[in-house]
């Protein structure tokens, strides 16, 4: 069984090169985490007093403004940041997909990149060898896969990265918003793979600004505001509170059909996942 438990967790970033108090004043009051003042080294309290628990089968969407701590929370849940105060426990293999470009090497071929990216995501070389053909087919890159990555266009890189990421078998899948930033034509093709990936994974936490993608992948949601949990509940409920209107109202006709809902259903009915 996979699970993540976080209790009263704080994430404080020390900012070593900012010795002057003037910087504190400058940052204070703008978006983002609170800035602590009592210690010598200024700190940014990116997350404060977070308590949450994620279990097998959970599909959690993460919403909140820029700088509210979504990416930081995903890193906390993955174990990259251990809480500065409070505690956390992660049981299961985490596949963090925060940045499609990470672990990609410009100088080596597409095939080699598939391999290394898979190793980063916790796969073994053997498991990756089995998947290479499937990934190659999905990316439609053909002979380009033998070329060094530096010969790829941005779109081609994204295809490659998405191909690898969606081929793994994660126990706990953590997705940051970058994954949705793919051009829509390719996204239509990638969507099915993404949905499959989420189905395969034991648990999902997905930070996103895209309602349609959230509705497709998640069932519950957490709203982060300035490093606090502002609200948690069912996805529709949280999205309604966060955006100030029911997400189903503004959903596109095509997406509505895919999700199996009427695009102008009143709140409280036809909620499928």
């Amino acid at each position: 069984m996979v699970s993540i438990d976080v209790r009263n967790a704080y994430v404080d970033f020390p900012i070593f090169d900012a010795k002057t108090r003037s910087l504190k004043k400058k940052v204070l009051g703008k978006v983002g985490g609170k800035i602590g003042t009592d210690s010598k080294v200024p700190i940014i309290e990116a997350l404060q007093d977070i308590t949450m628990s994620i279990h097998e089968g959970d599909r959690v969407g993460l919403v909140g403004h820029n700088g509210s701590g979504k990416s930081t929370l995903l890193r906390l849940l993955s174990g990259i940041y251990e809480p500065t105060r409070g505690s956390s426990r992660i049981v299961g293999r985490v596949a963090p997909v925060f940045d499609l470009g990470i672990g990609m090497d410009n100088e080596i071929s597409g095939y080699e990149n598939i391999m290394i990216r898979g190793l980063y995501l916790g796969m073994t070389r053997k498991q990756m060898q089995k998947r290479v053909d499937d990934i190659a087919e999905f990316t439609e890159l053909g002979n380009y896969l033998q070329m060094p990555l530096r010969a790829y266009s941005t779109g081609m890189r994204v295809r490659l990265a998405l191909g690898v990421v969606t081929s793994i078998n994660p126990e706990i899948l953590l997705l940051d918003e970058g994954i949705g930033a793919v051009d829509s034509a390719f996204m239509n093709k990638a969507r099915n793979r993404l949905v499959d990936l989420v189905k395969r994974s034991g648990a999902l936490v997905f930070a996103s600004h895209q309602d349609e993608l959230l509705l497709e992948l998640c069932t519950s949601a957490v709203w982060l505001d300035e490093g606090h949990v502002r609200q948690r509940g069912s996805l529709r409920e949280v999205l309604t509170a966060y955006k100030g209107k029911d997400p189903y109202e503004s959903i596109g006709a095509e997406a509505a059909k895919r999700l199996g809902i009427e695009s102008s259903t009143p709140v409280g009915s036809g909620y499928t996942s």
Binding site: S3, D5, V6, R7, F13, P14, F16, T51, M52, S53, H55, R75, S78, G79, I80, Y81, E82, P83, T84, S87, S88, R89, I90, V91, G92, R93, V94, P96, F98, D99, I102, G103, D105, E107, I108, M115, I116, L119, Y120, L121, G122, T124, R125
Partner: protein, 314 residues
């Protein structure tokens, strides 16, 4: 990255509720050892990354990693030629001496220099992947070991050429007043455990310096600043019998402290002496053993306290 498994309590877990009881603390020896164990277990990842680093460095060059070997050969030959003449030493024995010294020096100074950058240069990965820190340390040590093996080719070639001179019992490195050496024999096999000891120490050095340097960015600068001093203070291009021969009455006297207090000398000597048939002295092994124990103890304590801070500091 793999399983970060920790204490599993037997309390029943309600969905959505955080189970009662204390969650494991970040600062514990258990977590430090888990990091080491999981890091070593991710062998495919760090060995791949270590190789990748080497290939990356020589990408698109025609000779590729062979350049490591070539540059070592050129350096060893030129320095060997010059210093053998300066010190009136026989090139047949001085060249092997300098070659093994240089090869080992590269590994040792690599552990210090590249070790202090081990986490800093992996900032991106550390912030995107929950991998044990040990993975990055092993990547660095593995890369240095691959370099070492490439350099060993120079040693093998030189050994093939000068074997008769080195296998001669009683040979001396310098012509006048040199210490008689036993010559190459089966005790050369001591080089194998010696290399193991170097690698084992390399790992703690990389972990310790790596963690310290992420917090105090002056550490890599300090190491860079003292590295050439260390090179000339260590008997690499000179040998201790040169010093002793200059002061025959006292056998060097206080001057031996110039190298006996230099840890690098002892690490160097445990592997160089067997490889060129020099006198092997147990006291080097005692020093290395002491460093291994104390170094690892210190490193485990530092890992316990600061392992979880590295991702905040890089």
């Amino acid at each position: 990255m793999h399983t970060i498994s920790t204490l599993t309590s037997d309390q029943p877990e309600e969905p959505g509720a955080v189970p009662p009881g204390r969650l494991p603390a970040s600062r514990s020896f258990r977590r430090a050892f888990d990091d080491l164990r999981a890091g070593v277990a991710a062998r495919e990842l760090w060995s791949h990354l270590g190789w990748q680093d080497i290939k990356q460095r020589y990408r698109r060059s025609v000779l590729g990693p062979l350049w490591i070997t070539i540059s070592m050969a050129v350096t060893a030959f030129a320095l060997g030629l010059l210093y053998s003449q300066l010190f009136q030493a026989d090139i047949a024995t001085f060249l092997p001496y300098i070659t093994v010294g240089l090869i080992t020096w590269h590994f040792l100074i690599g552990c210090l220099q590249e070790g202090s950058n081990a986490f800093i240069e992996n900032e991106d990965m550390i912030k995107h992947l929950p991998a044990p820190l040990t993975v990055y340390a092993l990547r660095t040590v593995w890369r240095l070991m691959i370099m070492f093996v490439h350099n060993l080719i120079v040693y093998v070639v030189i050994l093939a050429i000068f074997f008769p001179a080195l296998a001669q019992p009683g040979y001396t490195i310098i012509e006048e007043g040199g210490i008689p050496q036993p010559g190459l024999n089966v005790t050369a096999l001591m080089a194998v455990p010696a290399f193991g000891a170097l690698a084992l120490n390399g790992l703690w050095v990389v972990l310790l310096l790596g963690i310290t340097s992420t917090r105090f960015r002056d550490v890599p600068q300090v190491i860079a600043a003292v590295s050439s001093l260390l090179f000339f203070m260590t008997p690499i291009v000179w040998s201790i019998d040169i010093l002793a021969a200059k002061f025959p009455e006292t056998g060097g006297g206080w001057r031996q402290y110039l190298y006996e207090f230099n840890p690098v000398y002892h690490f160097l000597e445990i592997i160089r002496a067997p490889m060129i048939g020099n006198v092997q002295s147990l006291h080097h092994w005692f020093v290395v053993g002491g460093f291994t124990v104390v170094g690892w103890l210190l490193t485990v304590v530092v890992m316990r306290n600061y392992r979880s801070r590295v991702s905040y500091w890089v």
